[in-house]
Subunit: 196 residues, 2 copies
């Protein structure tokens, strides 16, 4: 069973991904970011953890073959293929506060954070339970000497995909990112499908 779904620009969704199934996230137009969250479907207090995943991998940039760990140090997802090779696991989903603090917007969009919170609310997941997301296709350049972080346009080309296989039953949150800086200056959709 497979069905291609579209997340419209600046919006988000949530859905169940069962153990053994593979989630394919595709950037149909290129240079678009998708924030991805994962929660244990049986106990949503167990949640994806950038801190643990980066620590155990001893690297910032995760790709094919790398696992994504939970806050309980269990593997939630394995990256099994990756056309792009550059994603971010450092920065929080953009939010009203991101647009206020970084962009100076006076009437800010709710951002990926607001989109994720709304999509995940029916699953009993509250705003405070939303951690740093795995930011698919997000291209954060890091200067190892100064520590400077710079958000550049994604390296993803039209049609690039990443595939992640679930190692437990999950609730997934996924967005088409709402931050201009992350997406090379324009808002585009994201596509996803479940295989298996």
């Amino acid at each position: 069973m497979s069905r291609r779904n579209e997340i419209p620009p600046r919006s988000g969704t949530a859905f169940r991904l069962n153990e053994g199934q593979t989630l394919i996230v595709t950037d149909p137009k290129g240079e678009q970011v998708a924030d991805l969250l994962a929660f244990n479907a049986g106990d949503v207090r167990e949640v994806i953890s950038g801190g643990r995943s980066l620590d155990y991998a001893s690297k910032l940039f995760l790709t094919t073959g790398d696992p994504l760990y939970s806050n309980r140090s269990n593997i939630m997802l394995d990256i099994i293929s990756d056309d792009c090779g550059r994603h971010d696991f450092l920065l929080t989903p953009c939010s009203k506060d991101t647009f206020r603090i970084i962009y100076g917007d006076e009437d800010p969009h709710r951002g990926c954070f607001g989109n994720l919170a709304a999509a995940l609310e029916p699953y009993g997941i509250e705003e405070d339970m939303i951690p740093t997301a795995f930011n698919v296709f997000m291209n954060v350049q890091v200067n190892g000497d100064t520590g400077e972080l710079r958000v550049d346009p994604p390296l993803s080309k039209a049609g690039d995909s990443i595939a992640l296989k679930a190692r437990m039953d999950l609730i997934i949150g996924l967005t088409a990112c709402s931050a201009l800086q992350s997406n090379g200056g324009s808002f585009k959709p994201i596509e996803w499908e479940i295989v298996g």
Copy 2:
């Protein structure tokens, strides 16, 4: 009022820090890490956030003048002085799983994570609510090209301190780190005091 407290090697503590008070964390012997957590004393679901702090600062290495934000994008602490200048906000507190996965220990120590969980439990803070800590004096070298992370001995010398001023009433968790790799190969105490 000021009183110098010692955290013995491989242990941790928790205490209240009121708005306007300053917490001074000192490395008495040099090359020792202290994992620091902060929770809103009035609602412990509001918690220190590396993802937000690094995002708003647009840099990895925070020091004097930089604020530490919560998951709700409120400033919890301001770094008001810093003798060392190098701390980490990427990696999770070391835990049984760290020692199992990274060090291959068969009967692993509970680590900073276990020490923090035990110290914070009386404040109603559960294990799953513990995020990535602000790792005072931890020296994580980052290769911006490859993304490789390498934990080097701290740059802190005996007597180096960092001072953090509370911007809200907080519950603080603080450790003398339990991971050999973080501390240049030996376990040492950490000292702290509250001023104001």
